[in-house]
């Protein structure tokens, strides 16, 4: 019984509820935003530490005291704990970034409560050990994110948000169907319990059939090919802090769920299921990166790259060798930090130039070299340029591919890396190197003049912190690698998880 497993859910719930109490006091909400996400970050770090040092490296808590598999358990294994820490980092970074960038209107209509509850949903999804409960958390984060998307009521936001919610609801329906079928066959909802009951099933083929439903449902959430449409339709519409939070966390819930289900529950027919995942990974990488190559809007480029990067993570899962899983986990860690940071940078660019359209902006390397540096670190990392974090993620996955002689996917991963660099360099050359286009100079000047130094500092603070983490993950990759390695070990051996949750007595 470890209460710290529940804290990353309780804290944002409390912070969100308190923010609702102070609905009319934006100042209090702002403080709560920083304090609540800060506390979440601390709690998640403590959780990871406790999990890592635990003899089983798995902590669990039975909610309401009803023992597994009868009640709902929250479980923190290394994968879950790592994801929670990432959620904490993202929450804290975007909360700070929200202070200078979120408009009064947004604040007045529940921006901060929504943000907290979104984080609660995300952490819940990472920590639950129950398939139906997972569905509930996915609902929480879906509705919270939908509300954040429409906040502001711009026409473009509405259009994106409708697509977002409709397609994601379809995913939820599939998830519900899959959970229902699972319960129908096995009579349990507890993940650890499911491991044994799936194994006991006479017709293993049916397990694989249900696995496909989970795969499609999580594939939609993860924005994998050919299920990613909702993402590029919506992610560029809300305020940047929201985009960054979404970019960092939402698709990763889908990726996390794929990792969880296709390492813990669905390893009956790896040759079939993971082969499908591998093809999906390849096409996700290619279509995403090509989508980005066609765009000239800062955030749209970044949105498509989320899709493409998801492919690398799924590739790590799909190859399913120990090294590949390490690579997958490593990649997730690196990607969340880097991707969100790029969105945050795009926001600063907007505040300095008044546009996200690359054709309308320029000259930032002349005027703001430090911003150039802060862009280059995550951008080059995303493209996998050594010695930044992205390189090591890619290196591990590609090395796993070479060792397994999966040449096709290795080639795709390499070429997509090159095209990612192409997109990042496009942003760099247009926004930073090119001179500011004269016809948009006036607006750029007006915007730059309107940003006070204090606001800019608050925006750059989280960007700098995330960039520092990126550099650290790269230069100090050894501890991160060890952590990812331990997490992958657990994924390779579901019995560790099962024993820790159900107790060895079972």
């Amino acid at each position: 019984m470890s209460l710290e497993v529940a804290l990353p859910i309780i804290i944002p719930f409390l912070a969100g509820s308190l923010s609702l109490v102070f609905y009319r006091a934006p100042l209090v909400q702002r403080w709560l935003g920083v304090a609540g996400t800060g506390a979440l970050l601390l709690a998640s770090i403590v959780l990871l530490y406790r999990t890592y040092t635990d003899p089983d490296q798995v902590l669990s808590i039975a909610m309401g005291g009803w023992p597994a598999p009868y009640g709902i358990v929250l479980v923190s294994d290394l994968l879950g704990a790592i994801m929670t820490v990432l959620a904490g980092i993202m929450g804290f970074a975007t909360a700070v970034y929200s202070l200078p960038t979120i408009s009064r209107d947004h604040e007045a209509f529940g921006y901060y409560p929504l943000m907290h509850l979104l984080l609660a949903g995300v952490c819940g999804a990472f920590l639950t050990g129950d398939v139906f409960n997972l569905y509930v958390w996915v609902e929480v984060l879906l509705v919270a994110s939908f509300a954040l998307l429409i906040l502001g009521g711009e026409r473009a936001q509405m259009e994106g948000a409708i697509k977002y919610v409709a397609l994601n609801l379809l995913s939820s329906i599939l998830l519900l169907v899959a959970v229902g079928l699972t319960y129908g066959m096995t009579g349990t909802l507890n993940m650890a319990d499911l491991v044994g009951r799936f194994a006991a099933m006479e017709n293993q083929g049916l397990v694989t059939v249900v696995a496909m439903l989970f795969m499609v449902s999580f594939g939609i959430k993860a924005a994998a090919f050919p299920l990613f449409f909702w993402l590029p339709a919506a992610y560029h519409t809300p305020p940047v802090a929201v985009s960054a939070l979404f970019a960092g966390l939402l698709t990763k819930v889908g990726v996390y769920a794929l990792f969880r289900f296709f390492s813990l529950l669905f390893t009956q027919d790896v040759g079939y299921t993971h082969e499908i995942l591998l093809w999906g990974a390849g096409f996700t990488m290619i279509t995403g990166v090509l989508g980005a190559a066609a765009q000239y809007e800062f955030r749209r480029i970044l949105s498509f790259h989320i899709v493409s990067q998801i492919g690398y993570m799924i590739m790590g899962l799909a190859l399913f060798s120990p090294l590949a899983l390490v690579g997958g986990v490593f990649y997730i860690m690196h990607h969340i930090i880097v991707k969100a940071n790029l969105f945050l940078v795009s926001g600063v660019v907007y505040f300095l130039r008044g546009s996200y359209e690359l054709k309308h902006i320029g000259g930032l390397w002349r005027t703001h070299p430090w911003l150039g540096l802060l862009f280059l670190i995550p951008a080059l990392s995303l493209a996998g340029v050594p010695p930044l974090s992205g390189f090591f993620g890619k290196y591990i996955i590609i090395r796993a591919g070479v060792e397994q002689e999966s040449w096709g996917i290795v080639a795709v991963a390499l070429v997509v890396g090159l095209l990612t660099l192409y997109s990042m360099i496009k942003i760099w050359a247009e926004a930073f190197w090119k001179a500011q286009p004269e016809e948009h100079e006036e607006r750029a000047r007006a915007f730059e003049a309107a940003v006070s130094g204090k606001r800019l500092t608050l925006m750059v603070l989280p960007i700098g912190a995330l960039a520092a983490i990126t550099v650290f993950i790269g230069l100090g990759a050894q501890p991160i690698y060890e952590l990812a390695y331990a997490a992958a070990e657990q994924m390779r051996d579901p019995q560790i998880y099962v024993n820790a949750v159900l107790g060895d007595t079972q």
Binding site: W66, L114, L117, L151, E202
Partner: protein, 766 residues
């Protein structure tokens, strides 16, 4: 050693600040670092001569076999000395060339990072650190080439260089990983060179091709050579550095380094021999066609890179000796020539050599230095370049199956390079004085010291060839050949075939120089050469990429919600349905089904409601029909003894219908946009999805691997949960967390809707 390699990165961080505070003398003072490094590497020479190779290791990411390990032998030391030595002069030179440039601090920062990365490439023992530094040189050189980045052309050239070298770099990564796998998980160069059986690796060909893709792009071999001349968009100090000792030499370095492990096969021999020779010829041909002073030198670099590749490919003892001598000779004269070209450009204001003339009086030191360096380029005695060229001919004359091919191309190249050297050394300086944009005078000391020293070295090494031989080349040849080679360098080899070839080259080359204007005019009549270049291929590729990207986006991300949903549904049906089919075939194991008569009624109600909702033309009817289906579902709940669920469902359905009707009232009239075909398609898709779901439920219907957990919940409900209504106990106790979550979902939806309505309303009020 660690500090030596990484010091450049440290200085990179400090350089902007240092440059600002040091002012005009910054170049001289910053050059202390590379000069110190040069002295440090000189200090290694005795140890390397004595022991052959030294490896040092500092752990970095041992779990991934990535360590900061260094391999110091003749080859890496030769490169390290060239990089740090020439780097010293480049730093000094840049201070003069970019004098007064406000962005000089940034320039120095990138320059030091680049130098450090280059040192890392040539000194790394670990394959991955080598790759890390390799990619860093690509990125930093991108920033250097695009130094004048407000110029569109410069951005384009920088991107081209980056794209080509990084593309090759990624292939290289694959190649290196395969190399490590082939060597049995060995990730150090020293280990790989010591292991055998590499050539039995089943993917040997792919591995070599992948590695060569990396080295050929980096070292500008045909057909990837086009990026190098464009890289001249960089300021001259950068070009001088990139072309002489760094960047492009990285590819040559790696081929030389891996020669003992991979060489000796036909694949290696033909790939390097043929591509190298063709590159050599193309480079010298293009050099002769150029009139831009930097373009000329850039193409002659391509010639040199081709020569080196060819020599490594030939791989005989003589060829390796020739390669190392050529490498040293080229670095010395090319750095000097480029820096001189910068002096000319800086002082006259033009890069076009045909517009310069009669400068010998105004710039005497430049003139003399240019003559010496160009003599080495042309390969005339007593310069070190002569020794290198004689050795090269010697090697091609014994080039195995490629003897004729390489010798002919080498001779043709030598002729053209002779002419180019003469043009460079004489054209701007002799003859009548021509008008230039700036009035010329001798360059400052900072810009002349480099070329003078380097040209002088070309001369000294030529006369006293035993100095470089004993100090470095012996050890370097040993490293590249894999075992010691007994050789001595002399200026005078006696009258032999190479000397004869040299003589022919000199005579015809001088003739070409004499009639250069006619030659140029001849070339101008052949415009098809420009169209043939692989650069067109690169442009096509880039255009094609954008076209493909746009096409794909139009097809996939087309903005139509219906298409998105169809794709999602079909994917589900295909994956799940196919899996079901694969695992069960057509004999689908349905469970026992016994349906009672009133259940048929409920089913009929739901089906009719759903069907009617889809075909009716009126929204109101559709809503009512959906309500009917909803009430049917409520009946199902009641039937399976969950009356409270049924009640809830009825309330929800009622509310939904009422709300929808209220909304419908405000909507415009219903228009049907779909054609019958579309509707049929949609109906089929919907039916397949519904059918699949039904099938799945029927299949799992009576599978029970173990007793469901609900049995235990029923037992606990009253004694433990204190409630007789099991559903309630589940909702508020056993699975209270779910309920809490759902409460928040409803709350969130309420906030969202409230905000949506209010925020818009306020917009309208304003």
């Amino acid at each position: 050693m660690l500090l030596a390699v990484l010091s450049g990165f440290i200085l990179c961080a400090l350089a902007p600040w240092l440059t600002r505070s040091l002012g005009d003398r910054a170049g001289w003072l910053l050059a202390i670092l590379p000069a110190g490094l040069f002295a440090y590497f000189l200090g290694w020479i005795p140890e390397v001569i004595e022991t052959g190779a030294v490896t040092l290791q500092y752990p970095w990411i041992p779990g991934l076999d990535i360590n900061l390990s260094f391999l110091v032998d003749g080859l890496s030391l030769l490169f390290a000395l060239l990089i740090s030595g020439i780097g010293t002069f480049i730093i000094i030179y840049a201070g003069g060339y970019l004098h007064g440039d406000p962005y000089l601090p940034r320039f120095y920062a990138i320059m030091f990072a680049f130098t450090a990365a280059m040192l890392g490439v040539v000194l790394s023992d670990n394959l991955l650190t080598l790759f890390v530094f390799w990619e860093l040189t690509s990125i930093t050189s991108y920033l250097l080439i695009g130094y004048h980045h407000e110029d569109k052309e410069a951005r384009w050239c920088a991107l081209q260089g980056l794209f080509v070298t990084v593309a090759g770099g990624l292939a290289l990564l694959a190649g290196l990983l395969m190399l490590a796998v082939a060597a049995g998980g060995e990730y150090t160069l020293s280990g790989i060179l010591a292991s055998d059986g590499l050539q039995e690796y089943p993917f040997y060909t792919a591995m070599v091709l992948a590695i060569l893709a990396g080295t050929f792009t980096k070292s500008a071999q045909v057909p990837f050579h086009f990026w190098l001349p464009n890289a001249m968009a960089a300021p001259t100090p950068v070009s001088a550095f990139l072309h002489s000792a760094t960047m492009v030499k990285a590819g040559v370095y790696l081929m030389a380094r891996l020669n003992p492990a991979l060489g000796g096969t036909e694949l290696w021999f033909y790939m390097l021999g043929i591509f190298g020779a063709v590159t050599m010829f193309t480079g010298s041909f293009m050099a002769l066609r150029s009139t831009g002073i930097k373009a000329m030198l850039a193409y002659s670099t391509i010639m040199a890179l081709g020569t080196l590749t060819m020599l490594i490919g030939i791989g005989t003892e003589a060829a390796i000796v020739a390669a190392m001598a050529f490498l040293l000779a080229h670095a010395l004269y090319k750095a000097a020539l480029f820096m001189l070209a910068g002096v000319l450009d800086h002082e006259t204001g033009t890069k076009d050599i045909t517009r310069m003339g009669g400068l010998r009086r105004a710039m005497p030191i430049t003139f003399v230095t240019a003559c010496v360096a160009a003599l080495s380029l042309a390969g005339l005695p007593p310069l070190f370049g002569f020794i290198a060229k004689e050795l090269m001919f010697e090697a091609t004359l014994h080039g195995g199956a490629l003897t004729t091919f390489t010798t002919v191309l080498a001779l043709l190249s030598a002729i053209m390079i002779m002419a180019v050297a003469a043009i460079f050394a004489l054209r701007p300086f002799i003859g009548a004085r021509t008008e230039t944009p700036k009035s010329p005078h001798e360059g400052p000391l900072s810009m002349l010291i480099g070329p003078v020293v380097l040209a002088a070295l070309s001369l000294v090494f030529g006369v006293a060839a035993f100095i470089p031989e004993a100090a470095l080349l012996q050890a370097a040849v040993t490293a590249v050949h894999g075992r010691p080679v007994d050789f001595h360098l002399y200026l005078w080899h006696g009258v032999n075939v190479p000397l004869l070839l040299s003589a022919i080259a000199i005579v015809i080359g001088l003739l070409a120089f004499r009639f250069w204007d006619a030659v140029l005019a001849g070339f101008r009549r052949m415009p098809f050469i420009d169209r043939l270049g692989p650069e067109r291929g690169y442009e096509r590729l880039m255009d094609g990429l954008v076209w493909l990207a746009e096409w794909q986006t139009r097809v996939l991300q087309n903005g139509y919600m219906s298409n998105y949903i169809i794709t999602l549904v079909l994917t589900t049906v295909a994956l799940t349905g196919w899996t079901l089919f694969v695992h069960t075939g057509t004999a689908i194991p349905l469970g026992d089904i016994n349906v009672r008569i009133y259940e048929w009624f409920t089913v009929g109600l739901i089906l009719a409601g759903a069907l009617f909702a889809t075909i009716t033309g009126s929204r109101l009817t559709a809503v009512a029909a959906l309500g009917m289906a909803g009430f049917g579902v409520a009946l199902v709940f009641v039937e399976f003894s969950a009356p409270d669920l049924g009640t809830t469902q009825i309330m929800v359905e009622t509310l939904t219908v009422i709300l929808l009707v209220l909304v419908l009232y405000r909507l415009p009239a219903f228009v049907n946009f779909s054609s019958p075909g579309t509707r049929l398609r949609d109906a089929l898709i919907a039916a397949s999805f519904g059918g699949l779901m039904t099938l799945l439920i029927l299949v799992v219907h009576d599978i029970n691997v173990a007793e469901p957990i609900s049995d235990q919940l029923v037992q606990w409900s009253y004694p433990e949960g204190h409630g007789r209504n099991i559903v309630n106990v589940i909702l508020v106790d056993f699975r209270a967390l779910d309920t809490l979550g759902e409460i928040f979902v409803v709350g969130l939806a309420a906030i969202g809707v409230y905000a949506m309505i209010q925020l818009r309303a306020e917009d309208r009020r304003q």
